[in-house]
């Protein structure tokens, strides 16, 4: 958007109520795209998690990925082959 577009037009702002366009957060240059701030929790010993004030749930997928047990491998198969 350049000077002269609607955002710089006073009349436009008088009626502009809902913000639906991009905001500054969309331009974050994050050193930590991997959410390492979650690392201090011992997730191996964790099942029930409360994300208080979760908003739209930015952390849900990252927490779930840490909670999910590794893929199931059948003990019976290895026992029977022993």
């Amino acid at each position: 958007m350049t000077r002269g577009d609607d955002f710089a037009n006073r009349e436009f702002h008088k009626t502009w109520e809902t913000v639906t366009g991009p905001v500054m957060c969309d331009f974050r240059v994050d050193d930590d795209p991997g959410f390492s701030r979650l690392d201090p929790v011992d997730w191996s010993n964790t099942r029930a998690v409360l994300d208080a004030g979760c908003g739209p749930g930015a952390y849900v997928a990252h927490v779930r990925e840490r909670l999910d047990p590794p893929p199931f491998t059948s003990r019976r198969t290895s026992a029977s082959s022993a």
Binding site: P22, R37, V41
Partner: protein, 170 residues
């Protein structure tokens, strides 16, 4: 399975020790009674569980705040300062014995004034009351649009440092 529940953090409908881990990310500064919220987070957490709390520093996004001050904001809104990197540890120590802080830095590189104006518009609830008396909200937005355009013209982008951090509480 994630189950959304809409309640006040200061009155959680969960049993003592119901959770193995609790998170309160960038939210405690919104809460009316912060000490009550912290007590509730402790109560619903397992005795040896971990609470993670993220928040901003009061010096975060200084370049953006300076731009707003130059456009007619007479003082910074206090909302984030209610629970910040600076004072959060003290508030958490009321309910947790071991509170450690890990600082995080990132930045916003905004190549267009549109998102700057959108952000200001989305903060109207907290900014409008802090405008100089001669400046209307519409004047303010107009000035911000102009100032952001100037920065983008001169530097290619508005760059502002974000300072935040995580408290790990046990």
């Amino acid at each position: 399975m994630a189950v959304p529940v809409c309640v006040d953090v200061a009155a959680l409908p969960f049993a003592e020790g119901a959770f193995d881990a609790v998170m309160a990310m960038h939210m405690l500064y919104h809460v009316e009674d912060i000490p009550a919220g912290v007590r509730e987070l402790r109560r619903v957490l397992r005795d040896d569980g971990t609470l993670l709390v993220s928040t901003n520093s009061v010096t975060s996004e200084r370049e953006f705040m300076d731009l707003l001050m130059a456009c007619g904001l007479k003082e910074l809104p206090v909302q984030d300062a209610r629970f910040s990197s600076e004072n959060g540890g003290e508030l958490l120590a009321e309910a947790f014995t071991d509170v450690r802080f890990f600082e995080e830095r990132s930045k916003f590189v905004v190549p267009d004034p549109g998102p700057v104006v959108n952000t200001v518009q989305s903060m109207r609830y907290s900014l409008e009351a802090h405008l100089a008396s001669s400046v209307t909200w519409e004047d303010f937005l107009f000035r911000v649009a102009d100032a952001a355009q100037d920065v983008v013209d001169r530097h290619g982008a508005l760059v502002t440092q974000s300072l935040s951090g995580v408290f790990v509480c046990r």
